[in-house]
Symmetry: C2
């Protein structure tokens, strides 16, 4: 058992050092490894399987709204990146530059895409001629590069995987509707599939995307009380269209600029899954996203009939859930620790005594509750249990999130809340960037969003005391 315990004991506890706990989990659950290029990550099978499930589910939801997938080149000529002033200011400081192809210096250097607005605009400029060509609702799954100084697996790495949707519309209203629609797709996905409750809202001017008219965001709260921006959707108005000259002929034969949006979700969301649901034994995966939902672990598997019964259970269950049998030569205790570390929602223990009684034991990963279950009732019981776990994870995350939302009415309260109950602070805001800057300077908290569900909890700005315009969710963030 000494060996069995080692796997678990080697994780730092969340309370002791949350950042180290996170690093331990991503490594011990075998989600990633570090690469020879600083700040880049190797996504291992357990991590990539999570991403595949995220892709499958999001892609299906995208396509239901009419999205078509495409693929743009990974390189952006410098002159193209420079076309939209705000955009280039936002991204140029953190891009990787290709200067040589083979033995020759390039005539113009190319950046590796940090995001692809400029490429889509350059394409739309030629591809869109008439109102009949609209809307364009394109998306791509790819990797992007941002030359960050400080990096952390999934949360901030120099290369990450994501999808980026880029749309063009005939009217400002249609663009706004699409922007909101995609934010809602993200929010529903997070809540229904990842069991992560989110706050939907709009970013302030200071926090919006470089080149956007308006940025909308979903913000989730991690276990340590820090916020994580989990998906964003941008309305560009006709700003990019004017910078790139994307025009169409309308039904009245007049030239008009298009209205554009973009929206993205990345491997960062895997960080949210870890930090919302995980515990001191490792990952806890919501059943809907778990690559393996059930691990059957035979006890005393060397005894006659045990492996056969485990395999038979596997055959019964494989049509109703993603199930595996761990028939390796490790001890049951070691297998339990591994299943827990990897966050597999349910394990089924089955040994000679169980088989004698025609039963097995279902164990929930999240609560560790055990259910002795007659073999013939396992399929029904298991299907319900997976459902229950999914719902309970969401309810637990929501209760935790709600317990860490505090209203603050003045600056003293604001500052003390950050110490006493780290999480989201609801506070009114006058609308000036000076207050955002001061808050960040003093407390490291930022405006996470102006929630769609606005309330007037006070008449004055939580920072300066001047008349308030908006309710803002504030918080420290990843």
């Amino acid at each position: 058992m000494a060996k069995d315990k080692k796997l678990v004991e080697s994780i730092t506890s969340m309370k002791e050092d949350f950042a180290q706990w996170y690093t331990d989990v991503v490594k011990k659950a075998e989600l990633i490894d570090y690469a020879s290029v600083k700040g880049c990550m190797i996504i291992k099978p357990a991590g990539y399987a999570l991403w595949e499930n995220i892709q499958k589910e999001l892609d299906r939801r995208f396509k239901e709204t009419g999205v078509q997938n495409v693929y743009m080149p990974m390189f952006i000529p410098e002159s193209l990146l420079n076309k939209e002033k705000d955009h280039v200011e936002g991204f140029a400081p953190e891009v990787a530059w290709v200067t040589h192809g083979g033995q020759s210096a390039l005539q113009e250097r190319l950046c590796v895409r940090p995001t692809s607005e400029t490429l889509f605009c350059d394409f739309y400029k030629n591809d869109i001629q008439s109102y009949r060509d609209l809307p364009k609702v394109y998306n791509q799954w790819c990797s992007v590069v941002r030359w960050e100084k400080e990096t952390r697996p999934f949360l901030r790495s120099r290369e990450f995987l994501w999808q980026e949707g880029h749309t063009a519309h005939a009217t400002a209203q249609e663009a706004q509707e699409r922007t909101e629609q995609m934010l809602n797709v993200y929010a529903d996905f997070c809540e229904e599939v990842l069991a992560i409750p989110v706050v939907r809202g709009q970013k302030t001017e200071k926090e919006k995307f470089a080149g956007a008219d308006a940025t909308y965001t979903i913000e989730a709260l991690m276990h340590d009380g820090k916020a994580l921006q989990s998906g964003t959707s941008h309305n560009f108005g006709d700003g990019f269209a004017k910078a790139f000259g994307i025009q169409y002929t309308d039904q009245g034969n007049q030239l008009q600029y298009v209205y554009q949006t973009s929206w993205g979700m990345s491997t960062r969301i895997i960080g949210a899954i870890i930090m919302v649901h995980g515990d001191d034994s490792g990952l806890v995966l919501p059943p809907k996203i778990a690559p393996t939902q059930v691990m059957i672990i035979p006890i005393q598997q060397q005894k006659e009939g045990v492996l056969a019964q485990a395999d038979q259970l596997y055959e019964t269950l494989k049509g109703i859930c993603r199930v595996k049998v761990d028939d390796t030569q490790k001890s049951p205790g070691w297998k339990f620790a591994e299943q827990e570390m990897r966050g597999i929602p349910v394990r089924i223990e089955i040994g000679p005594k169980d088989i004698e009684k025609g039963q097995c034991v279902l164990v929930r990963r999240d609560t560790r509750e055990k259910y002795v279950t007659a073999l013939e009732q396992v399929p029904e019981k298991l299907a319900k249990l997976l459902d229950t776990i999914q719902q309970d994870l969401f309810a637990r995350a929501k209760a935790h999130r709600d317990a860490h939302i505090t209203d603050a009415y003045n600056y003293e309260e604001f500052q003390s809340v950050l110490e006493k109950n780290p999480g989201f602070i609801r506070g009114m805001w006058c609308g000036s960037q000076a207050c955002e800057d001061k808050i960040k300077e003093d407390t490291a908290a930022t405006s996470r969003c102006m929630p769609f569900a606005q309330e007037q909890i006070s008449d004055v700005c939580v920072c300066c005391g001047k008349p308030a315009k908006k309710l803002v969710f504030w918080g420290k963030a990843y």
Copy 2:
């Protein structure tokens, strides 16, 4: 009708100029567009949907053999690329180099991966310790970059999409088995799904992959008689393991080097689909890979009941095939031309007269045969028809391929065949690279492969007349 014809007439005929026909088809069928970076392509929805279907089907077949997906960084430090001598010589001349991150010059320049053997080796070196860690059967779906001088859509572009599998095994035999297994996965996929017959064989020393012990290939014949290397599988032996120091402790507690393989298939295969099945009206897609298998085209759709009947047909069929209704405001003739250009395997024409008679007309894209079919019989008839088309496309491609395989017994015959019946030439080979070099110099043909199905069709080399060792398939190639 003038407008209807334009779409079709604007394609160059295959006979007149095959290369131009190809370029016309990829553009007019809206598979790709050219990008602002020379030699890169924009894969449009119709092209990307093909790639998604290829991915889905290949990925399923991979996973059935135990493959796990991962993701490696896109950058390779120069020192890492340099570790295996043959490999770096093969790739260094054609890579893109990143020299700056943000505002700063990098201490060591990074290349954008042209292939990822070196990254996987660097990872395996740490990840593999014991025989218990073997085999590793990993794959990634990603884009790679090779700074080619001459480029053509899908066939040769500076960036392309592919999958690359990289495996590590305890024994040479296991590595050899995996190499052959994956070649067979590719071959079966091409024949069963893409309806493209392939020759399976081994590359000569001259043509093998940089750093491999042995390269296996599947070679397909395009409509113009040129060969296309359609997928490759490499056995590295322990060469990379020795260069990178990838060792494991075996069951007898001895340190051993691992044996490795890699294998890849890319968006190039879309070029093969086009050039094997296409005709002067555009694409012809095998039903199993076609994103849309059936297009319902209403005739006189403004008349009452026509669109309703088309929609009802759609509802009936959507569970058994990938079907759409073209209810745009274009003329039926225009819609027919579009459906043909895009290679949609079957169209269903339905107008007021058909409805009166309780029928519709099924039209095959490949042969243009028409089948007047009672509405209630459409599902059954259509399912069979899609099957038949799939089989017929394979049979037709195979007949064409076989008609363009010619045996040559001496150099005079060899040279004249290339003029008279361009295609594969079967010719014996002495095994010397000098003969390969001479043949390439004189005729531009290369050794495509030494087929697994060896025959001794003559005792002497088709080039030099010295004793022959191997039967080789020769041909001009893309």
